[in-house]
Symmetry: C2
Subunit: 313 residues, 2 copies
């Protein structure tokens, strides 16, 4: 993939928690040229992350990894000199609160403390911390070194300057920060995904179409547009008069359709097994790891296409 040409706006970062999400953040940061200090309570996780990095990175990047990544055996040591901290620990509120108390105590006074949480409100995680002003959610899509969107969500006490700096930093390392104005359960991305999955399951459960048919409508239909433009931009290009003409003309038809979209599914064992048989038929004998490598390889190439030929403006 095209490397980011910008300089990172924060040159030294710490990654706390090096599981699947944390290790991918390491790749984001070193690709952008950040000195990346890593820590995990479990030394085995560190080893696994380094092995993965060496396997996943191309040769010249692997050399960069060795010069830019430093492993630390204490949290306070890892945080030294870091201007941005990316926390990717377990998704349990009490654990997050405990980690944030330690981060706030040990990090440099001006360091930003970003969390990969996909669900929690920073107002609650950082409640009562003296450094609540520098705590913020920076929720990536898995894996962040392949998919650029990062949801940025300040807590009640987060300083607007910290929000601006986090957005600037994420942009400078090649990610696409997306600002949420206030907390909403599941944030933006998982709500949009849930909306699609709800209707997808409803169509299968009600017998309208098979699992592969529903998937095909996305992968060979809507998804081809959505890799380039969101739903509003698509609506805007679907009529010569733009989104105003489109929704004025089709608003009532959309309302009628929306009013009878399917209900929330049960996710009971029988339904899950039915979906499982559908995806078994699609995936053939390929292991998930191979399919994920293929997915990531093609997503990189799609991003290259978009970078080489950006939307006209």
């Amino acid at each position: 993939m095209t490397l980011n040409a910008k300089r990172p706006s924060i040159p030294v970062v710490a990654v706390v928690g090096t599981g699947v999400i944390g290790r991918s953040w390491v790749q984001v940061f070193i690709r952008a040229g950040c000195q990346t200090r890593i820590y995990d309570e479990n030394p085995e996780q560190i080893e696994k992350a380094l092995t993965w990095l060496d396997q996943d990175l191309e040769a010249e990047q692997a050399d960069t990894r060795r010069s830019l990544v430093s492993v630390h055996t204490s949290l306070s040591d890892a945080l030294k000199g870091a201007g941005y901290v990316q926390e990717s620990g377990p998704e349990q509120m009490e654990v997050k609160k405990a980690i944030y108390a330690r981060l706030d105590e040990a990090a440099d006074p001006n360091a930003i403390l970003g969390s990969s949480t996909s669900a929690y409100d920073m107002s609650e995680i950082a409640s009562g911390l003296s450094g609540a002003r520098r705590c913020i959610v920076a929720h990536p899509v898995n894996p962040p070194h392949v998919i650029p969107v990062v949801e940025i969500l300040p807590g009640a006490e987060t300083d607007p300057e910290v929000v601006a700096q986090t957005i600037e930093f994420m942009t400078s390392v090649g990610q696409t920060p997306v600002l949420l104005n206030r907390y909403v359960p599941a944030f933006l991305l998982n709500r949009m995904q849930a909306a699609v999955i709800r209707e997808a399951i409803s169509l299968v459960e009600s017998g309208v179409a098979d699992v592969d048919a529903v998937d095909a409508v996305i992968r060979d239909g809507l998804g081809l547009r959505w890799a380039l433009m969101g739903p509003f931009a698509v609506a805007d290009t679907n009529a010569d008069g733009g989104i105003r003409e489109y929704f004025t003309r089709y608003g009532q038809a959309y309302k009628d359709c929306m009013d009878q979209l399917g209900p929330t599914p049960s996710f009971d064992a029988e339904m899950i097994e039915r979906l499982g048989r559908g995806t078994d038929a699609m995936s053939g004998n390929a292991p998930h790891s191979e399919t994920r490598r293929w997915r990531d390889r093609l997503i990189r190439k799609i991003r290259d296409l978009k970078a080489a030929d950006p939307r006209p403006d």
Copy 2:
């Protein structure tokens, strides 16, 4: 884009109605090598379609166009010898019924009569026709020569053999036919699209995020996956144990999220204007026609990437 290497399973087709959808169908059929007989009640539409084809096709394809496309001034003449008819007339039930009555009367006895309708039930369009058995919905995404999905929906009287032949034909001309087992309002694709738009508008209306933020979550996030895999295949690759593990583990979280997704929006003038200002800011000064050309160019390249490096199985 890579040309389809297969031979079309039906060599002579008729396109009835040559507006934006019909002219794009012409391109699908001639690309696959079909003799394509075209007719429109309005001769001006024919002229516009031919001009568009000559501009849009590459040089060697334009030569093919001249040898494969024939223009006819009567419907019965256009239908002569055609084994498949693609109807792309106005979306009004009474108009569709009238066109189908004429098609059924004039077409060869074994010709399949496919409709581009995005909304109507073939059971109703073909009701009372002696040839109802050969009438079927073949609903494309705009434009079909760029986006391959075609929703295939038989009516109550459609012969299963006609369904199979339509699927075979669409596959042979390089499209991706998707079978609906029964009629449901708005079919599959527009329901999935409505689900996304409903939540997208709700997030803007409730002040959670701006228009561009919602779009970015799709175009730089979910859409990058969905260009390759539908929501079920994505769920299947999101856990080592596949979709069964994924939905067993996260089913409850999805249910909680789905139960409080946003309501159907009003589509009132104020809301539409707010969305319009958001898309204005995204589109800059580029005219819609230029953005559409960019979209179609990149979708073709994404399809080429997928064709060259298909999902492992």
